[in-house]
């Protein structure tokens, strides 16, 4: 078993357990909320205060579960010879969510003409190239920017286009490697306003 396969498997197993842990915590927090709601001795104002706290807890359980689910999927598919591009992209966005929110940069995935797109290479190298571009967008774009991620395929080549809005947001692509890995190309367009991660597809 190769290094990536082992790492992927361990990640998937750990995330599998993490989902269980989160489910137990969520149910117990929910039960506590139920019991407080049923307790007549607790004043209404205090119940409302508790309600607010429980809502935050439930929201955070949701965030944790999404992240664990995304990593579990990534880990369990690490050994696959082909990568499903849209789910892989969503996994990376889940991992980057907190940082992107802090920088006020958001992403919109548009599968459009690339629905069901599969890369003819394993997930890891493609993930590395996509993640580098995503991270560069978060670090290099102004607060309030939106990056549209367009999936497309033509003549056996797949691509993810990173289009930053508002338009003309150039410069964020500086430093991205043009050929991050064999078979994967990172093309910079429109004077640095757009980046395309290209790869062979099925």
């Amino acid at each position: 078993m190769g290094g990536e396969t082992v790492t992927g498997r361990l990640t998937a197993m750990a995330m599998h357990d993490m989902l269980n842990v989160l489910a137990v915590l969520k149910e117990n927090a929910g039960l506590l909320e139920d019991l407080i709601g049923l307790e007549p001795a607790i004043p209404a104002a205090q119940k409302a205060r508790f309600g607010g706290l429980f809502r935050i807890m439930q929201e955070q359980f949701g965030v944790g579960s999404d992240l664990a689910e995304a990593l579990k999927r990534f880990g369990s598919e690490a050994a696959q010879p082909h990568a499903d591009v849209a789910p892989l992209l969503r996994t990376l966005l889940a991992v980057l969510r907190r940082k992107a929110r802090g920088r006020k940069v958001s992403f919109v995935v548009d599968e459009g003409g690339g629905r069901g797109l599969r890369a003819a290479l394993p997930p890891a190298p493609l993930a590395a190239a996509l993640f580098a571009a995503l991270e560069r967008a978060v670090d290099g774009l102004a607060a309030g920017s939106v990056v549209r991620l367009l999936l497309a395929a033509r003549d056996g080549r797949g691509m993810v286009r990173f289009i930053a809005e508002p338009g003309g947001a150039s410069g964020w692509t500086d430093g991205l490697q043009t050929g991050p890995a064999e078979d994967i190309a990172c093309e910079i367009k429109d004077g640095g306003a757009e980046c395309r991660v290209c790869f062979p597809c099925l």
Binding site: V24, E27, L31, L38
Partner: protein
């Protein structure tokens, strides 16, 4: 509404006991089985209306329990509630005849809604089956009771 006979099957005891208590607060009493084997023992003695079933369990897993429930031809609706399911698992469970598929952690009100819908479906199926049986068409009556997706392939 009549009391729904509910069986919860999950090997994570901390989870399933808490879930049972939360459902009880919402007037849904339940029995708990902590493994696939325990679930099958329960089914040998009793017939719940609805089962909420985890998939990944040591020993007999949830998918196998679902298969055996459908093979038994008992009018039982099965809701899958799993933390580890893949898209393929979901497809397979629905093909075999699961009523619905939820991922953990699930919103309790969504789960209650699903359980009540599953029970309603069971009752509707039984009424339609009774109509066929009254008309002497026992084969159609039986088919309706086991027809939740997999039909003739149940148990294969």
């Amino acid at each position: 509404m009549k009391k729904i006979k509910l069986l919860l099957v999950d090997d994570e005891e901390n989870f399933v006991r808490t879930l049972a208590e939360r459902l009880q607060i919402r007037e849904l009493g339940s029995q708990v089985a902590l493994s696939g084997e325990e679930a099958l023992d329960f089914l040998a003695k009793d017939t719940p209306d609805v089962i909420v079933l985890d998939l990944r369990m040591p020993g007999i897993d949830g998918m196998e329990v679902l298969r055996r429930v459908k093979r038994s031809k008992k009018p039982i609706q099965v809701i899958i509630l799993t933390g580890h399911g893949t898209d393929k698992d979901k497809e397979e469970a629905m093909r075999i005849g699961a009523f619905e598929y939820h991922k953990k952690p699930v919103d309790i009100d969504s789960l209650v809604f699903s359980i009540k819908n599953a029970y309603r479906k069971k009752m509707e199926d039984m009424m339609v089956a009774a109509t066929f049986a009254q008309a002497g068409d026992f084969e159609s009556a039986e088919q309706i009771l086991i027809d939740d997706g997999m039909k003739d392939k149940a148990g294969e």
